[in-house]
Structure formats: C-alpha cells, structure tokens
Symmetry: C2
Subunit: 255 residues, 2 copies
DNA sequence: TTGCATATATGTATATCGCATCTAATATGG
DNA sequence: CCATATTAGATGCGATATACATATATGCAA
C-alpha cells in the first residue's frame, strides 16, 4: 500500500515549532546530575556451585577490592548496549543471556560522586566463560548462596581458597538481588539452561536449579516439570566418557 | 557491651589516605552524563477497571500530552525518596505502596537531552486517590489492559470519554511494564489488596485480580487460594448498604 | 559376569483446581 | 407477610499435579 504524504503544515502544527525552539534553548548542564553506570553480574555454574566474574580494581575508588564488570553509560548509548559493552570489554563475552536486574542509587554508594548504577545479570555456560576468562584478567568467585529463605540481602563471594573476597561498592547487594531474581524465575521457567552448555542432561539442569534454590529437588517431579514446559527436546545423543550409565543429552527448542 | 576504639592508624591504612587524596582531585563533571529522573505509575482500581494518574504537561517537551508524575533525581537523594517526592508533590499522596519497576534509558526517549528514568509503580485504593485527586490537577486514565497474552508492550490510556489519551515520552511502555509486573506478582501474592481499602470483600479482591490478569477466575479456587496464603483475616464485619446478601469484610494481617 | 551408579518407569498418597451443587442472607415486589 | 431474585459462602467430587517411594533398565568397570 502506498502512503500519501500529507503536506508538512498539516503534520507540523504550531506546537511542534514552539517545542523545537524550546529544545534549542534547553541547557542540559543547568544543574548537577548524578552519573549513570551499568554493572553486570556474570554468572555461571559448575559442579561446585554458582560463580561470578569479579575483577580486581586497579584504580580508586576501592582499589584492590573485587568488583563486577561495569562501565559508565555513554551519552548516546542505550542501557542494554552499555551492559553488553562492559561484558565484552571486561569479560570478553558476546551474545550471552543478559537482562536488566535493578537500579541501585543510594547517595553514598560510590565515594567519588553520586553514581547510579543499572545492574544487569548475564548467564553463560562454564566452558565459554573458562575460555574467555584469561583475557579478562578477572577471577571467578564462588557465591555463598544461603539455604532457603530470602536473599534480598547481600551475598558474599569467595575465592578458590574459600576465603571471603572484599567486594567494592554495593556489589554484594547486587549479587543478592541476582540470586533472588533467579529463584523467582525458576518457578515458571527452566532458566538454568542458560548456565549450561548447548547440550546438557536433565541431571545437570537439576543440579543448577538446586544450587540456585539452595535446596534439593525431587528428581521425578523435576524431570516431569521440565519436560512439561515443552521448551526442551532430546538430541538423541548421550553423554561421553562417564563412569556409569550415560544420561540423555537435551537442548532448548527454537534456538 | 563496650566497643574499644582502635587507634586511627590501625583502621586507616595507607591505601585509604591515598584514596582520600584521589577523591579530592576527582572531577565529576569531566565528561557529560545522562540526566536521571523517576516516573511513578500510580494505579488504583474501581468497578470499571484499572486507572492511572496522569498529568497534562504545561511545559515542553510534549506540552499538552499526558504524563506520569515524575521528577529529576536530586544530587543527594535516594531513588526511592525521589519517587516518594514525585508522588507527594504531584499526586498529593504519602505512605502508599511503592516499588521500583524498571529503568528506561533509550537514547532518544526525551527530546531535550539524554534522560534515563527509573520507573516506579504505586498502588492505592480508589477512595484515597479520589480525595487527593483535585489538588493534583491530574486525571485518572483508564488502562486498556489487553486480554491474556504478554503485556510487555505499550498499554494505552483513555479518558472518561473513552477517547485515547496521548501519553508523553515512553510512558505507554511504562504502563505496559507495570501490568506485566503485577500479573507476575499475582501468582504468589494477593497483591491486589493494595488497590483496595483497608477492609474489602473477597469478591472485590477477585475483581481486581481479574482486571489485572485480563481473564475471569474461578470463584472457589480464588477464595481458597487467598485464604490459604494466610495473609488475610476476617474482620467479622459485613458490607453495608448492599442490595443482596452482604459479603464478609477481610483485611490484611500484620499491618 | 557381577556390582555399581545412574536413568527411567511405575505406583501411591496428598494437595490443588475447576466445576457443580447446595445453603444463607438480603432487598424487592406483590 | 411471603415468594422470589440475587449474591455470598460452603461442600463434594473428579481431574490433575506433586512429592515420595519403589522397581526396572542401562552402561561401565573390575
């Protein structure tokens, strides 16, 4: 169908010209504004539990502490784009699951000046992250996920030696919010597969869900529930090089 | 128990002094930053459905369109505080249910300059809002909530004459996100009571839930489910001045 | 071949949900 | 005063989903 363009005068009433003039005069720097950043909690799962990428800060503030990958938001950059950029530049990863989490803006959360951070979380399988890890210069911290109960509060992180890592800013709270969000998502989605390779066993998926929820799940119910979502399908293949009976490998439909 | 203060030298290592010096030199205005605002979707429910407070914009940009109450975030103001302030100054309401929703930051969502808005939503009963409405200068717009399906997209608003209202900025998308959030919350919480007076009937609560979900609910299942949450209790009183059998009035426990 | 660890199937009790039916309370109209 | 309309609330039952237990099947190693 062909659109018949109306004369500009009909589509540009007086108000628009007035508004355009207003915009010309507008001075964005007339009063001070908080700065805006994004921080990304990049999670993966292995047999030892949930892990998150943290980077040692070389600069002030909080030099020497561990921080989630983040960056300031560019003047013409979408929030999602900034989060992807932080993930790419500081974690060396692209194309992974990424979703906005919550915006943290306590006035003194950054000692420099007022910085509001839009927190994101990203999920990736362990093999992909392991491959990208050396270039990032960061480490994977274990998340000490509390069993049961609420996790709106902070979640601490530990290094390979199980010693507690001091996180910068309010990043402990961001990790706590991620765990809480994931727990909510599990109720209606097998989201755990984002933390696994393309092909995985139902047992692997159950372990991921158990780690996130912090409690054991019934094997049969879990299997039925996952298959009932209709989001998974069998590949027909089986595990290789396992000591006992190899389990069937599944993948996510419609990818 | 008495705390024995350690000498300052033990608690203030060299790194902290170095960091303090860094903070002195830090210039927050070294590069341009987006502005940060909050917008609040203030919802209530009556027999005709969900309604939201919208205010006619007297100034540019989008002069003449309808907008959610909002404000820029002060330099030393928490996000929640800014949202409460917007609700108080532009809606005349305090102490209502308020929760952060999502942060919208598309680069061109505000024609003035880059403005990132942290969207909140607030829930209040119709009587309270009706009392505060005249002073606000705004109107209550009906939300045209789609039946079933996803509502991540925009939700349009209509005036008393059922004519579509042109909303400013991306406020249609904010309303869509509110509906989506509420639908998710209903699965595990009788959150609808926030939209009702202190004492309400189960039938009222069901109507609110049906409006939000956009589909009818089974009366008995709803009643059983609500009472099973343990969050409601009977007041022992009944409705007044109704035409047929008066229903029992309930309230939320632990308030 | 045997035993082990896991996958997969079957069975059962319990909880939940939807639907139908029944009773209760109130106003209205004769 | 009484029948009736209408809504509130309770009860019962079948279908479904879930947790838990048990049984069978599979593949590998010793």
């Amino acid at each position: 169908m062909t659109r018949r363009p109306k004369p500009p005068s009909a589509r540009k009433p007086a108000l628009d010209r007035e508004e355009a003039a207003f915009l010309q005069r507008y001075d964005a720097s007339a009063f001070p504004h908080p700065s805006v950043a994004v921080d990304v909690a990049l999670l993966t799962a292995d047999e030892r539990g949930l892990r998150a990428l943290v980077l040692r800060r070389d600069d002030h503030p909080h030099r020497g502490r561990w921080a989630l990958p983040g960056t300031f938001v560019g003047m013409d950059e979408a929030l999602d784009t900034a989060a992807m950029r932080a993930l790419d530049q500081k974690g060396g990863l692209r194309g992974v699951f990424l979703e906005q989490l919550y915006t943290f803006g306590a006035p003194r959360r950054d000692p420099r000046t007022r910085v509001i951070t839009v927190a994101y979380y990203a999920l990736v399988d362990a093999a992909t992250l392991d491959a990208a890890l050396p270039a990032s210069g960061g480490i994977l911290a274990y998340l000490d996920v509390p069993w049961e109960g609420e996790t709106g509060g902070p979640v601490s992180a530990s290094g390979a030696d199980r010693k507690n890592l001091r996180l910068a800013f309010d990043h402990q709270h961001i990790l706590g919010a991620v765990v809480k969000r994931l727990r909510g998502k599990l109720d209606y989605s097998p989201i755990g597969y984002e933390l696994l390779p393309e092909r995985f066993t139902l047992r692997d998926l159950q372990r991921v869900h158990e780690t996130i929820l912090g409690r054991p799940l019934n094997k049969d119910s879990f299997r039925r529930r996952m298959l009932a979502t209709g989001e998974l399908e069998s590949t027909g293949e089986r595990e290789q090089d396992v000591r006992y009976r190899p389990a069937e490998l599944y993948r996510v439909k419609n990818v």
